[in-house]
């Protein structure tokens, strides 16, 4: 049965956007944790840890996100760990986000001159104290724009979760189109919703940058 495209469809799309937000938040938290670890390993003084983090980032960045999703969803089931789609998606996005955020944050940490580390160690601060009080506060400034840029990509990439049965924004639009035959209306609204999610982020990032530049 083909029905008219109506307010109810808009409502469903907005409701589905909640899943897009939830996926993004989960991915950002999980990816953020992995990313912090990878970035710190990359600047640590212990060579095997640096190599491990390097390898991790290279391998994950070289793997399509779709493959990661399938790996966690179907792969874990095959080795006897059937997981909820929700968990599989959260894991896959954490692994993926961790590699990209790890690389962004490593770059930010390494953008701080070596002499800053040196001044810290000359004053008797430990590696973690140097990171915490000297390097990270300066690196945050460098990291904000690319981190937000990645977050915007992430919001859009959560649509891939549809492939393992997740009804987020893009998938909901497909479903709506199937029953209303009004792809233009449906996808215009989807585009608008993505814009409403992403635009405030980039504005907020600019605002933060400006604020930090004034404080510095």
């Amino acid at each position: 049965m083909i029905r008219e495209f109506g307010w109810i469809d808009v409502f469903y799309l907005v409701a589905a956007a909640r899943w897009t937000i939830a996926l993004t938040v989960a991915a950002f938290i999980g990816g953020g944790i992995v990313g912090v670890v990878m970035a710190v390993l990359r600047v640590s003084g212990i060579a095997p840890l640096r190599w491990f983090a390097f390898l991790y980032v290279q391998v994950v960045q070289g793997t399509p996100l779709l493959v990661l999703l399938f790996l966690f969803f179907f792969g874990l089931a095959i080795v006897g760990l059937p997981v909820l789609p929700w968990i599989a998606v959260a894991l896959a996005f954490s692994v993926y986000g961790g590699a990209f955020l790890g690389e962004i944050w490593r770059g930010a940490l390494q953008a701080i001159p070596k002499t800053q580390w040196e001044a810290g160690s000359a004053l008797g601060l430990s590696f973690t104290e140097q990171l915490r009080y000297i390097i990270v506060p300066q690196a945050v400034r460098v990291a904000i724009p690319p981190t937000v840029g990645f977050l915007v990509q992430l919001i859009k990439n959560t649509s891939l979760a549809a492939t393992i049965g997740f009804v987020e924004l893009t998938r909901e639009a497909q479903l709506t189109t199937a029953s209303t035959f009004q792809p233009f209306a449906a996808y215009m609204i989807v585009a608008l919703l993505y814009f409403l999610l992403c635009f405030p982020l980039t504005q907020w990032s600019r605002h933060l940058e400006r604020k930090i530049n004034v404080a510095a």
């Binding site: 040196e118 004053l123 008797g124 601060l125 104290e129």
Partner: protein, 243 residues
């Protein structure tokens, strides 16, 4: 026992030997001026003294503690050895006060309020107490370097190392930094400074050490060594810097 004992130290970077069999004893209260051509290993020697670089042979002992003993807590040791660099290396995101109080509060557990007093005292000794709440980029190069000195002083070190701390400054600012060093020399602080300021070395140095090709080539009382060099290399060097 000398405050600083450097015995037969050799330092290499892969195939490059930067320090060869360097020995030097520094007594409490001495002011040692290290001079020498670019690349002769002056900075490297200072960095070895506080363990920023490792050495491949020999010993460095500060107040009875061996720097290169794996059992030595380098962080403890560095709290007693201040180093000031040519490029100041202040923390740009922190106020002058916090630049100075960071290490005392974090490493020694000094309370924030007491630390501010410590910072104020250190700033008085470099003539910058009115800048306590400024940020590094609001200061001139000379002022930044004085803050860097105050930051080291606030750790109450036994030994201060200075690596060409006036080289990035124009003559006027150099003067204000040298006056701070003069002031410190009166308090009896032990100092090892790499410098191109021959005038300062002559007046305040208890000894001059001339380094050449990674070795201590010649050393002696400041006035004698600068006035009557014994080696051809030092003579050549002095002619080059003084004329």
């Amino acid at each position: 026992m000398s405050l600083l004992e450097i015995e037969n130290v050799t330092k290499t970077y892969d195939a490059l030997t930067v320090l060869t069999d360097v020995s030097l004893l520094v007594e409490t209260g001495e002011i040692i001026a290290i001079i020498g051509r670019s690349g002769s290993g002056k900075s490297t020697l200072l960095r070895c003294i506080n363990g920023l670089e490792s050495i491949q042979a020999g010993r460095i002992v500060i107040d009875g503690v061996e720097v290169n003993d794996p059992g030595t807590d380098l962080r403890k040791l560095r709290q007693q050895v201040g180093i000031v660099f040519q490029g100041f290396n202040l923390f740009p995101h922190l106020s002058v006060c916090r630049n100075i109080t960071l290490a005392p509060t974090v490493t020694k557990g000094i309370a924030e309020a007491d630390a501010r007093e410590l910072a104020r005292e250190a700033l008085v000794s470099v003539g910058l107490e009115d800048k306590i709440d400024a940020y590094p980029d609001q200061l001139s190069g000379g002022q930044q370097q004085r803050v860097a000195i105050a930051r080291s002083l606030a750790m109450q070190p036994k030994l201060m190392l200075f690596d060409e701390i006036t080289s990035a400054l124009d003559p006027e600012l150099t003067g204000e930094v040298l006056r701070v060093l003069e002031e410190m020399s009166r308090t009896g602080m032990t100092m090892v400074l790499v410098t191109h300021e021959m005038g300062f070395a002559r007046r305040f140095g208890s000894r001059v050490v001339f380094m050449h090709e990674g070795r201590v080539w010649e050393q002696g009382p400041a006035a004698d060594t600068l006035g009557k060099p014994k080696t051809k290399e030092l003579e050549t060097f002095l002619n080059a810097v003084l004329h």
